[in-house]
Amino acid sequence: MLALMSGPPSLGELGAIPPAVRYQTQSALALLPTDGSVLDGVPLERLARAMDDGEAWVGAAPELAEIGYWMIEPSHSVELRRRGCIWLTRFPSVETAKRLGTLVLDPATPEPVREQATWTLGYRQVRSMHPSTQWPADAVQIADEALAKLADAATIAGKITSEQLPHALRHVSSEMIAAIIAKAPGLWGDAIEAFATPPLARVLFVSIADIPAQHRTRVLRLIGATLGEEAVPLLVSRAAEAPIDERLEMLFLAISLGGEQHLGRLEDTLAGMKFADLLRQRAKWHLANRGVVPTVRGLKVARTTALMPAVERAARCRQAADDLGTLTKFIRHPEAYLYAMWAWMVRGAADPVRARELVAAHPESQKLVRDLYLEDLARRGRVKQLTVAAQTLKAADLGALQLAIHGRPLAALELAATARLHTPELVCARALACYRAGRPDLTARILSEDLPPSEITDDSALPAFPGPHEQWLIQHAPAHSPAIGALAGGLPGVLALARPAPDDAEADLPSIEPTFAVVRRLGRGLPGSTVYLAGEFKYMNKDAIAKAVEAAGARLVNGPFPGTDYYVHGDWCLVQTIAQLERQGARRIRRGELEGV
């Protein structure tokens, strides 16, 4: 019983993950209910946030899997167990696979937990997880077996009751699974995507009519990619009877796999059609890339990035990104998730040019490749487009930094003035832009007086910038946030980021007005400003300070409201409140600036 009531395992040193993530995780875990009561409200919200913020890091500390194992214990609430399954996505291992396998096959496991565990067992993508995340072969086998058992049971029952299982199976390349799918292809249409064995592909073809219509294009592509030329006669013979979308897909596959002898059939079909020219261009592409079914090839990589060694990923993601984008030049993807997969490949490739291509084809994807897209725009001097995109994507600080780096300092300062949070990127952007806007004096003052807040790493106080978290990043992951490294390096560090503006860049703003905003901020004038008295005032005289604030022409506010200009640190104050104020750009009233402080 004692074990049932115990709290989460202690985290230990955890030198492999940044201190702020460590602190955040620790704080969130401390709030978790250990008595099986419902996980909701603040604890749930904190846990969710810690998991999101830590996604890119925690995988570097495999020992943190223990937390997941603890979370999925049956004594815990359903939501905590479900979150435990999500947590374990970051820690693929034999042990994880075993535990989750047991969980999914246990009939007593609540449905939400089983669903999440099923997904975790299937999920083989790295996406934004730590680069060291990689599935060992043994773990893959265990996970596949567990999924196969689930799939087999569903096949026997003739009904898939799990929403996650088909999608999890899309990641799995396994003969076992293929055999199960082959038993009831109509049932598993949703699971068929990037992997099939030749026998399965043949079964799929003969039972294509059983596959629900929305899955057929995907399935046809997989059949073609798996069987190659063998599929051509079948495709051609079926094409005549098929509805138009499927017919076209079959004919393109036939051309891709069988060559130009099938162009005639395509031409017959295209007669009078609206997008005929584009479709002919597609046929041309297939002829130039014989045997390639690009979406299937791309998806094979996209679904398995966590199976391949980290060093290979970037190159394979580049290829996969190209594969997933190829057909969009001729036809839009019938299923929107393909754009998301494409976006993740672009991120894996870390290539701004590919980000541009993705966004050109599918504007909504700019959310997923935000940083790369902004970088691409800045590199090409697209000031206006960048400004709009940065605002839309709520990344004025990043956009401003890119503009400052690429030689558009006045536009950078103008954009920076609209940023909501006082981040390292914003400060770095201002410092560099001021320097390039003829105001190195302001740069010097920013670097000495207006640095961003550090991340919280403990409950005692907010350390000065760069704090332990930032120092850790500079030391272990300098590429993660170049702005932090640059600010820590002082003026030389900041100037080192600068690049000449591209020759064909749009002009910078024709006004030095944006520098005035920085002048005003650094001026630290109290009249007309707002001041928050943060925390508890036991020794300091709160009333006297309040009077002094009013005497100085400033106004007190009742909370750390966005837009508050200054704060007075009480005798004691929650470090989170100070962090929030600093992050919102409020500045601490320094000793001597105000009577009583």
């Binding site: 409200g41 003739g158 219509a213 839009r332 390039r436 004096d441 690049r499 106004r555 009742n558 750390p560």
Partner: protein, 1380 residues
């Protein structure tokens, strides 16, 4: 009243059938029973069965099977989750064994019902009966067929081979996709009968000079792409169908039709003449000849909870005949809205149904409900572009331009065309982008709108001809430039441009008018608000909620208290679903400055006629916001009995760790008891000021969950306390609580997706105890807002009652969209069918519905009142009270309640009140109906000897007589009734307008003159006022109306009146503009007047010109010739040309034929001889205004905002307005940081103020805060800024008329020395340095100027000092940077 029950929504899964010894038949036997079960259940009045068309039959392993409807499905799975099924049911049937019905509830509850019996049919009937009984539902209206196993097998054997064969040979049916030409013709089709909905061409129909659009059929037909040939099927089912035996024949036919998709309706109807789907097909087939509502009603009667027929239950726009026979069968508006709601309730995830339903809701003026429904559809079908298109089009109907642009952009990013034209573009993508273009246009981003539309239509002109034409209009029509200039200016925070732009084009829709009114106030032109509202709102009918709300706040800001109060009440009582509590509270704030007598008079009128319910509701606004309301006996009487006591809210439902709880508690505790009158206004204001700040105590914008929770807690505190305060004597603290409640709920709404169920429930728990004590109408309004802000319907998957189960009062009263639909349907059914005691039931239900929706159900409510009165179940006073409430709510929409009320009032001997109620409400009646109804009133009318005839001809004649006899008061009385009688009669409106004008009632006259005389209204009005000796009023009308004058005759009229008023500045301005437009339009008298005034004001150069013109025009007419000479002499005197002046003056004196001129001419001669030049004082401005408004007009926002601490509140308000302006860099910023900071400072500075201008400042600050944190309609994102110069250039280029001088060009760059002796002295050097710093690496750049780090720093410091010392340095640098 107990909550009405919703239909029980079920999905039927494929049965588990075992046939011993004949396994091969099992799949088809299961299918047959599945169809039979659905057939049976769909006839039940309370069962909404998910129809088989929604789970279509597809081949699966050689047999047909329904998609998704197989065992293993659950009500919460991916498919059924969005369908909101309460239960899934399926049969388990073992031949010659037990029949079992399984059920699976939404909460996972499983249940089974078994039956033994002589045959499976009986057993199925038994288990169904058991199940229905267990659910508290009535018995099946028709029993399941008592079919035996053998009969079942016999039927299966007949159909199975065909089904198996067809399953194997099955091919996907082709879905018809509309061609681009179809889309062009249909998509975004503007409705010519409505103003403002012409989404593609917002100015369509306003310009009679505009070339007529080419009719669609005149265009060469675009070659449509060849349609995909449908898959042809042989008629295979019919031969088998004919051989089917009677048992299960209907089910088998339906099965064949569903599986093989062959049309068998004739056979189905033979088997069952009332089969709903087959009947519905008949209805659809005959719809082209007009909807057959009798048939439709049969369908509904046959399957009372089947969604599709309900979506057809609407009368088309052209079906407006009111013959009694038709009226009996046609759906009423209530039925239509109820039908729409029921359809959405039964098929909540079906996109086509939802789109249709949303359209119906929009037709019934509840587009917000439509938006809500479509938002759900988009969430359910995010990948379906048609859902997005429907949503964007529906948001367009709400007149929330910021929300529209945001939604259009969001949908455009997902489903718009790819950015690169190399990628393929599809029609739906183009459609979305055309909507984005329209949305851009509506916020004034003309160039971008044109560019986007042009880009998407390039090369597609042949297939999108209508949209191409629209594009051409956008490009060529000058009105679009003015329109966009005004709108862009307004949304950017530059009200001067809005006023200016709307001086080039008249407001044409509700948003235009709202923009115009707000801009007038912002620019210190409050005195024009009443004219603008009278002309466009009341006259031209731009009186939708957006315009009316703007009118309320602007009229109050202008000190037009009574008019403002009336509009405020109108919009707040009739549009509760818009949730405008925040805006209404700001109006309440403005109302707080009004004299109490104004409110007392308004309330007194209501009480006097017996409208106590209305008075009580209206008095609540007065009590909440007017500081002295507690002292008024009229207000107290209107409020009725108040028996509450101060109590702390019940907030136990919130967790102890609720964010910002401690700070919020402290804030509300600091307000103190409302019964303490000291300092109440200041305490109230401080609460309003501080609540948002304390919400952020433990929450931030980065943490929406925390913010939602804290806001929810603040809302609970405020709303519970407010509702309690409504039971206590009046205090302004109640107004503050109400303001905070509205604002906090708006903030919750903003983050509702992050709000947890527990907090939502806790808020309801806080409201529950006080809801019982509060006025029902007020409670209903807030409950509706709570439901929408907390998204209770979405949160609970439609099971609101289940969600609020713990709170009995709320559970009984809360109306989500589905509950409203059920209530509306119940009222409609009771009202139509009129069973015993229908009136009492309708009375209770319709009242609830009407108070919830603001108008819907009022007709039925009124009918029930009359019935109850007739049955003596209600006394006369109560009946009058309820009827007057109905009348008020449907004024202008329905005349029924007003006729009922008039009848009851007449019976009670209250003739004048009856006349009043008819005058207000009769205008909505159709002609025939009106005459029939009025005939029934003739006898009591006569009996009471009312001095207003009940026949139009007599009315018109008497009105004319009264006007002729100079009795405008009598004419007014008659005229008001005559325009109610025949609202389309222009002559009646004109005469009424004249009657008002003669009495100097300008605002009352204007609407009727607009309706009676259209474009000439303001000229006629000013003329009548002038003739009646009301010169200031006439000048005010001319000043206001002349902004649209672009013809010389208009300016000449203006000049003539100004001349008569001896108003030189106006005369000069008017004549000068008239002369600029057409020098030939002046007659001699006008030239004479003009020249005279020019002399008086000292403009001798122009005077010379005009005098010469007069001389030339006079010809041989000595009278004018001598006048001309005299004016010319005066001009020469002014110009110092005395000798010439003497000659002319002598001629004038010598040849003067008119004795009146003798003195004047002699004086001129004397002046010329004695060389006397007088120096007239400079012309005073036409209008004396504070300089801050001129700064705003000049676009000098920095200087204007610097006046934020001016002593005058009016100036401070303008300064605050100036901070709202968004520079290009702030295009994507909702509210500028300057505005946020200034608004907060303004709030702090206006605590406890009651002066009108100060309160207006406070209201503006609250508006800014709303826009920054919880805007119902977010501020639109801006794009390219249209400068004044660019506007006039473009406007002129398109042929627009612009009066006055062109703006001077911008100053050129001038180089100069700024830092003498510095390393970089000149501006050009500094500019070069900046250019190099951008183009090169920093070190390389400074090296170009022989600088090192230290040297660069020195240069920078020197230039920084120079820039700070001299503002022109920055301008010089800017000019240098701008030079390429």
């Amino acid at each position: 009243m107990p909550a009405l029950r919703k239909p029980h929504r079920v999905g039927v899964l494929l049965p588990d059938v075992t046939i011993e010894g004949d396994v091969a038949l099992e799949p088809e036997a299961a299918l047959l029973l599945w169809v039979a079960l659905i057939e049976c259940c769909q006839r039940h009045p309370m069962l909404a069965v998910y129809d088989p068309e929604s789970t279509p039959l597809f081949p699966h392993e050689g047999h047909f099977a329904p998609a998704h409807a197989s065992i293993g499905a659950s009500p919460t799975d991916a498919f059924y989750g969005s369908t909101r099924r309460d239960e899934l049911i399926w049969l388990e049937l073992v031949a010659r064994g037990v029949v079992r019905l399984h059920t699976l509830g939404r909460d996972g509850t499983k249940q089974s019902f078994d039956a033994l019996g002589k045959n499976p049919g009986d057993q199925i009937h038994q288990v169904l009966s058991q199940w229905l009984s267990a659910r508290g539902l009535g018995a099946l209206p028709r029993r399941f067929e008592a079919v035996t196993t053998e009969e079942l097998i016999q039927v299966v054997k007949l159909v199975a081979p065909l089904l198996v064969e067809q399953a194997r040979a099955w091919a996907t049916p082709v879905k018809h996709a509309p061609s681009e030409a179809d889309l062009d013709a249909g998509f975004g089709d503007p409705d010519p009968t409505e103003s403002g909905v012409a989404e593609e061409d917002p100015l369509a129909g306003t310009d009679s000079d505009a070339p007529e659009e080419v009719a669609e059929e005149d265009e060469p037909a675009a070659p449509a792409p060849p349609a995909e040939p449908p898959v042809r099927r042989a008629k295979v089912a019919r031969p088998i169908a004919n051989r089917l035996p009677p048992p299960l024949r209907l089910a088998a036919l339906r099965l064949l039709a569903l599986a093989i998709r062959e049309e068998l309706d004739d056979l189905i109807l033979l088997a069952d003449p009332e089969q709903p789907q087959a009947l519905f097909e008949q209805y659809l087939a005959s719809k082209g000849q007009g909807a057959d509502f009798a048939l439709l009603r049969r369908v509904i009667a046959s399957a009372p909870c089947w969604a599709r027929p309900y979506a057809e239950l609407a009368v088309g726009d052209d079906d407006d005949d009111d013959e009694e026979g038709d009226a009996a069968i046609k759906p009423t508006e209530l039925e239509s809205v109820a039908g729409a709601g029921i359809a959405a309730l039964c098929r909540p995830a079906q996109l086509d149904i939802i789109e249709r339903v949303a359209d119906l809701l929009n037709d019934s003026r509840v587009p917000d409900e439509g938006v809500r429904l479509l938002e759900r559809a988009v969430a359910t079908h995010p990948e379906d572009s048609s859902a997005h298109i429907a949503l964007v089009e529906m948001v367009m109907e709400t007149d929330r331009e910021g929300a529209l642009l945001a939604q259009a952009h969001a949908s455009g990013r997902i489903h718009g065309c790819p950015m690169e034209p190399a990628y393929p573009w599809y029609p739906d993508q183009i459609q979305i982008d055309l909507l984005v273009a329209t949305s851009l246009l509506r916020v004034g981003r003309l160039d971008e709108a044109i560019a986007l539309r042009a880009n998407r239509l390039e090369g597609r002109e042949a297939t999108w001809p209508r949209h191409t034409r629209i594009l051409q209009n956008w490009r060529k029509d000058p009105r679009f430039v003015a329109w966009c200039y005004a709108r862009e200016g307004f949304f950017r925070g530059d009200p001067a441009r809005a006023v200016e732009g709307f001086g080039r084009i008249q407001p044409d829709d509700d948003v235009d008018l709202a923009v115009f009114l707000d801009a007038l106030v912002a620019m210190g032109r409050e005195d024009e608000v009443v004219l603008a509202w009278s002309q466009y709102g009341l006259g031209a009918g731009l009186d939708g909620p957006v315009a009316r709300l703007a009118a309320a706040r602007c009229l109050l800001a202008a000190g037009e208290w009574r008019r403002g109060l009336d509009e405020l009440w109108r919009v707040s009582l009739t549009e509760p679903d818009r949730d405008e509590h925040v805006a209404i509270a700001r109006c309440g704030l403005l109302l707080s400055c009004a004299p109490l007598e104004v409110a007392e008079l308004a309330l007194g009128e209501k009480v006097a006629v017996g409208a106590n319910m209305l008075a009580r509701r209206m008095a609540r606004d007065v009590a909440d916001f007017m500081p002295d309301a507690a002292r008024s006996s009229v207000v107290s009487r209107a409020l009725g009995k108040l028996g509450g006591t101060e109590a702390e809210p019940a907030l136990g439902g919130f967790a102890a760790a609720t964010r910002s709880k401690k700070a919020i508690d402290a804030l509300f505790a600091a307000v103190g008891p409302s019964s303490k009158p000291d300092d109440a206004l200041a305490r109230a204001d401080r609460l309003v000021n501080n609540w948002l700040e304390v919400v952020f105590a433990e929450a931030s914008e980065d943490d929406p969950a925390a913010l939602a929770q804290a806001a929810c807690y603040a809302a609970a505190q405020a709303l519970a306390r407010y509702l309690n305060a409504t039971t206590l004597p009046a205090t302004p603290i109640a107004g503050a609580l109400r303001t905070v409640a509205g604002e906090a709920l708006a903030l919750v709404r903003e983050h509702r997706s992050a709000l947890q169920d527990r907090d939502a429930r806790a808020l309801l728990g806080a409201v529950e105890p006080v809801l019982r004590r509060a006025d029902r109408w007020i409670g209903s309004s807030w409950l509706g807002t709570l439901e929408r802000s907390l998204a209770l319907d979405e949160r609970s998957g439609g099971d609101i009652a289940g969600f609020v189960r713990e709170h009995a009062t709320i559970a009984a009263r809360v109306l989500g969209p589905e509950e409203s639909a059920v209530l509306a349907a119940s009222v409609a059914r009771l009202h139509r069918e009129r069973p015993a005691n229908w009136a009492a039931a309708v009375n209770a239900q319709a009242m609830q519905l009407t108070l919830h929706t603001g108008y819907l159900g009022a007709d039925e409510w009124a009918d029930s009142v009359v019935a109850l009165l007739a049955a003596r179940e209600m006394d006369t006073d109560a009946a009058i009270d309820e009827l007057l409430t109905c009348c008020y709510l449907v004024e202008g929409l329905s005349a029924g309640p007003s006729v009922h009320a008039a009848r009851v009032l007449l019976e009670a001997g209250r003739g004048p009140a009856a006349l009043g109620v008819l005058t207000a409400g009769l205008s909505a009646a159709g002609e025939d109906w009106r005459d029939r109804q009025l005939a029934t009133l003739a006898e009591p009318w006569k009996r009471l000897k009312l001095d207003v005839p009940l026949a139009f001809e007599k009315l018109a004649a008497q009105m004319f007589d009264a006007l002729q006899k100079g009795d405008p008061a009598r004419a007014e009385r008659l005229g008001r009734f005559s325009v109610a009688f025949d609202p389309g009669n222009g002559e009646a409106h004109r005469n009424l307008g004249l009657a008002y004008a003669q009495q100097g009632k300008v605002a009352e006259a204007m609407p009727h003159l607009v309706r009676g005389t259209h474009e000439q209204a303001t000229q006629i009005l000013s003329g009548v006022l002038y003739q009646a000796g009301k010169l200031p009023e006439a000048m005010a009308v001319l000043d206001y109306a002349s902004r649209w004058y672009n013809r010389s005759d208009q300016w000449l009229t203006y000049g003539g009146i100004a001349y008569a008023a001896m108003d030189n500045p106006r005369t000069v301005k008017a004549y000068a503009l008239a002369y600029q437009l057409d020098p030939g339009a002046f007659d001699e008298s006008q030239l004479n007047a003009y020249a005279g005034v020019l002399d008086e004001v000292g403009d001798y150069k122009t005077c010379e010109l005009i005098a010469n013109k007069l001389i030339a025009k006079a010809g041989d007419d000595l009278m004018w010739k001598t006048n001309g000479w005299n004016h010319l002499a005066c001009a020469y005197i002014g110009l110092g040309r005395f000798d010439e002046a003497v000659k002319l003056a002598q001629d004038a004196v010598a040849q003067n034929p008119l004795p009146d001129n003798i003195g004047n001419f002699a004086t001129t001669l004397e002046r010329a001889k004695t060389r006397q030049q007088h120096a007239p004082p400079p012309l005073p401005p036409i209008r004396q205004r504070e300089p801050v408004f001129e700064l705003l007009e000049a676009g000098d926002f920095a200087s204007a905002s610097a006046l934020a601490t001016d002593a005058s509140w009016r100036v401070r308000r303008a300064a605050l307005e100036a901070t709202r302006f968004r520079f290009s860099s702030e295009n994507d910023v909702d509210v500028t940081p300057r505005a946020r900071a200034s608004a907060n400072a303004m709030l702090a500075a206006t605590v406890g103020v009651t002066e009108r201008d100060a309160v207006a400042c406070r209201a503006l600050a609250l508006l800014i805060r709303e826009q920054a944190y919880f805007a119902r309609d977010p501020v639109p994102r801006m794009g390219d800024r249209m400068t004044r110069e660019a506007f006039y250039t473009e406007f002129r280029a398109r042929g627009g008329v612009v009066l006055g001088d062109e703006a001077p060009p911008p100053p050129p760059f001038k180089d100069r020395v700024v830092v003498p002796g510095g390393k970089l002295e000149r501006v050009s050097d500094y500019v070069s340095l900046l250019r190099d710093l951008a183009a090169l690496a920093p070190a390389e750049a400074i090296a170009q100027f022989d600088l090192d780090e230290a040297g660069y720093l020195d240069v920078a410091k020197a230039w920084a000092a120079a820039i700070e010392a001299d503002a022109s340095v920055a301008q010089a640098i800017a000019a240098g940077l701008a030079k390429r």
